[in-house]
């Protein structure tokens, strides 16, 4: 189906999120939508899929103007959207999820639907058991389920919003093969939204680059990478040079530590984390790196062994004891665990800073906020509620809450979902902390990020933990093999 957008405008308050977007996507092609966070990509896709309404402009499907008033309406017109986080019901079976949203029949015929599910899955070479429960699936499989569901509902346009953020490299490869070889060739129109240049380049037939709510350029295969980067950011940027490995004193010392989680156990970890170093934790999601990070912060109590922080035994102490000794944990779920929706930026600084006296000094909060907004380049004001900031700015705000003095920062996915400019900015701020003597341990699913910024790398594979690898002597391929379970001495 041919999709045409004409002069779309959308305002959020004073923010002109989409400014006069005109885009034509021919049937059976893969259209890449590239741009940094907050460029207006997701807003446009939400308009196309009926989640929000444009303030002005027209949508044409196969040259006929249509009004799309809801997601259900969109799917009736043949537009299906695959969201960044799969919109499914984890505690229900695959088949129940599959049938949800189907408009007809009070009493669905399960055997017929099962057969149709299996046919469809076979056609796309997906292997998902319709009777299993969604919470037992990987994120990649949940995406596959969502694709199957949208196709079954009659989608002829498939919108994928940042689909590669949460999935592994092999799952990504599989997804791309499906999109190119199974769907596009059958006339399915695919709109692929991402801030990852590499992914968009591999997949797309043509690319539209968004910046600050406008389409700043379009390109067709073959693509010129430098030109795309320049369109995205208006300038060329590259990460700074890496630093030499430090030989400082030990900050955190794990002595024979064992950690148990509902699903896995990590046994007998011995590790010394030194001041000023960066340790990257690699592994498929849920391989034990999350539990490890929580054990380093006191959020999880080890079942055996000792944890020493600056030569003090803190085994079994709470996170607040760790925090008092300069440990900070920054969670991946920013709005769910890290920040307090409903409170302003200034109030966050008041909460995080050392508090003098009983009464709040609002003036001090505002000054603090203004100072941090400036030095962390946060787009927001002291009185902005934290949830009104974009994802990248929330992450910067989270980092700006770190207190002094710091000895250890533990971060889950410091730059997930952020654009290159934010990534570089965030890492430059983190590296500053290292220079001041803090150690950083972080989890990332981006192997290049791990190799780029770490001094040492630990790989996790189903609760097993590799020896620390020297990041400067390790390649992405080596890491990928270890993550996938190859090359482990049993």
């Amino acid at each position: 189906m041919k999709v045409e957008l004409r002069a779309i405008h959308k305002y959020f308050g004073n923010n002109h999120a989409d400014n006069d977007i005109t885009l034509t996507i021919p049937s059976g092609t893969i259209q890449g939508i590239l741009g940094e966070n907050g460029a207006g990509k997701s807003t446009l896709m939400k308009i196309l899929s009926g989640f929000i309404h444009a303030d002005a402009g027209e949508i044409l499907l196969d040259d006929k103007p249509v009004t799309i008033s809801s997601p259900a309406d969109a799917i009736r017109h043949g537009i299906g959207m695959l969201h960044q986080d799969p919109l499914d019901f984890p505690s229900m079976s695959v088949l129940d999820n599959f049938m949800l949203g189907h408009p007809e029949g009070l009493f669905p015929n399960r055997s017929v639907v099962t057969r149709e599910f299996k046919n469809l899955a076979q056609r796309l070479e997906f292997s998902i058991d319709p009777d299993s429960y969604v919470d037992s699936l990987t994120v990649g499989e949940r995406q596959q389920l969502e694709i199957l569901r949208l196709l079954w509902l009659g989608a002829r346009v498939l919108i994928l919003d940042e689909p590669t953020t949460g999935i592994s490299a092999s799952q990504k490869e599989k997804l791309f093969l499906t999109l190119i070889n199974k769907l596009a060739v059958q006339g399915m129109t695919i709109i692929f939204v991402s801030h990852k240049l590499e992914d968009v380049e591999i997949l797309s037939d043509s690319i539209a680059v968004f910046r600050q709510g406008k389409v700043v350029g379009e390109a067709k295969r073959p693509f010129n990478t430098d030109q795309l980067v320049e369109m995205m950011f208006g300038k060329n940027i590259s990460p700074g040079p890496r630093q030499a490995m430090s030989q400082e004193k030990s900050v955190l010392w794990l002595d024979g530590v064992s950690i148990e989680d509902v699903r896995l156990r990590i046994q007998n970890v011995n590790l010394e984390i030194r001041a000023g170093e960066v340790i990257g934790l690699a592994g498929l999601e849920g391989s034990g790196q999350g539990a490890f990070l929580r054990a380093c912060s006191g959020l999880m109590r080890p079942v055996a062994g000792y944890v020493k922080l600056n030569d003090r035994d803190v085994t079994g102490k709470s996170y607040h004891v760790f925090k008092r000794h300069g440990v900070e944990f920054l969670p991946a779920a920013r709005l769910e665990e890290g920040l307090v929706p409903g409170l302003t930026l200034a109030e966050h600084f008041l909460l995080a800073e050392k508090q003098n006296g009983v009464f709040i000094d609002r003036e001090r909060g505002r000054n603090l906020a203004e100072e941090r907004i400036k030095s962390f380049n946060i787009k927001g004001r002291p009185v902005s509620p934290i949830e009104s900031l974009s994802g990248g700015n929330q992450q910067r705000a989270l980092l700006s809450l770190l207190r002094d003095p710091l000895s250890l920062v533990l971060i889950e996915h410091p730059t997930r979902g952020l654009d290159i400019e934010s990534v570089i900015h965030i890492w430059s701020k983190l590296k500053e902390r290292c220079k001041q003597g803090a150690a950083i341990v972080f989890i990332s699913s981006d192997l290049e990020e791990i190799l780029q910024y770490s001094d040492r790398v630990l790989v996790f594979f189903s609760g097993k933990l590799s020896q620390p690898l020297d990041a400067s002597k390790t390649t992405v391929e080596q890491l990928g093999q270890l993550i996938g379970g190859k090359g482990w001495a049993s």
């Binding site: 890290g338 920040l339 307090v340 409903g342 966050h348 909460l351 709040i360």
Partner: protein, 350 residues
């Protein structure tokens, strides 16, 4: 154009609130008409019954005192994200604590004013204990505070009945009219000729001012709000979360306990079965209606108290049940919430 909207938004909000009030009145009127009662006559009686005379208005203030105390306490637990339904039981336990202290001390040689003071402290302790029980059930037992509080309300009622008909029964025959009234020396002094105690009035006003500053101006209030809005993030930001939840229970329970103590020392002078008089549930409505902002709690509680007192006339004059005030109060809360929902939808769309 955008700037104009933000400038006018306060007036727009105010307009929505007025609309909610009018809708609540309209629906109550419809109910009155359906019941075959003259609506205007009913409203007139409510107004005359509440502010028709100085004495009537002082009765409104008598009812305002416990309502304001309870609402002030509930603002604290709401800030911590708790639905403290158990506040009814906390008032009751406050009354029981006060009655207990008065009974224990009435025959001693302590000066009466000291006895009353100690009795009020005992009431605070009783309310706080009951609230912290609900809080402990939540933090250590994983029992939702709504269920825990509701259960404790029943226990508190049962305990009151047990005391009135058991250990604290009147000599001779126990009765629903309560325990033996205390000696006049142990009553809080009243304004001459009125049923209103200046002491009670001052305590209630101090309580709401205290809560206002606690929530607006202190680190404690800010941290409490952080706990209420996002428990996990508050913990990671260094707030000792369960301690704050327990502290908020303690404050709310203590204030509810004072309300119970006022009922004993300034209104009934004894323990009666329905000592909490529904002020807990009414306080929940006030807290919801003011959208958890302490500054509005005083006028709204006054309005609710006026409705309560005004409707006392209705059965006598119009043969209507006095629960009409409850209908109007409930309607008001519902419509304010509905209108607020509509306003948010509209502002999102524009």
């Amino acid at each position: 154009m955008k700037a104009m909207i933000t400038k006018n938004s306060r007036w727009v909000n105010f307009g929505f609130q007025i609309a909610a009030l009018l809708l609540a009145l309209l629906f109550t009127t419809l109910i009155l008409v359906a019941a075959g009662a003259p609506p205007l006559e009913a409203y007139k009686n409510i107004i005359i019954g509440s502010v028709g005379s100085f004495k009537k208005f002082s009765d409104v203030l008598v009812s305002w005192v416990p309502l304001l105390l309870v609402s002030a306490g509930l603002l604290v637990t709401f800030a911590a994200g708790l639905w403290n339904i158990g506040v009814e039981g906390q008032i009751t336990l406050g009354a029981i604590g006060t009655t207990w202290a008065l009974r224990e001390l009435q025959d001693t040689s302590l000066p009466p004013s000291l006895i009353i003071f100690l009795a009020i402290i005992a009431g605070m302790a009783g309310g706080a204990l009951w609230a912290m029980l609900a809080g402990a059930l939540k933090t250590f037992g994983g029992v939702n505070e709504i269920f825990g509080g509701l259960g404790l309300n029943f226990v508190a009622t049962a305990l009151t009945i047990y005391l009135i008909f058991g250990p604290w029964k009147r000599p001779g025959v126990a009765s629903m009219s309560g325990t033996v009234p205390f000696d006049a020396a142990l009553h809080l002094s009243l304004f001459p000729g009125l049923r209103l105690s200046p002491w009670a009035l001052v305590i209630a006003i101090v309580a709401i001012v205290f809560v206002f500053f606690l929530l607006q101006g202190t680190y404690f209030g800010l941290r409490l709000k952080a706990v209420g809005k996002n428990l996990r993030a508050a913990y990671l930001l260094g707030v000792p979360t369960w301690q704050y939840i327990m502290l908020s229970c303690l404050i709310c329970g203590a204030l509810a306990g004072v309300a119970g103590a006022m009922q004993v020392t300034a209104v009934y002078y004894r323990l009666i079965p329905a000592i909490s008089s529904g002020y807990g549930y009414l306080g929940l409505m006030v807290a919801m209606l003011v959208n958890y902002q302490a500054i509005w709690a005083a006028p709204v509680a006054l309005f609710f108290a006026a409705l309560n007192i005004g409707s006392i006339q209705l059965p006598i004059v119009l043969k209507l049940d006095s629960s009409l005030s409850g209908v109007l109060q409930g309607m008001l809360v519902l419509f304010v919430l509905i209108v607020e929902g509509i306003r948010q939808r509209l502002s999102k769309r524009s």
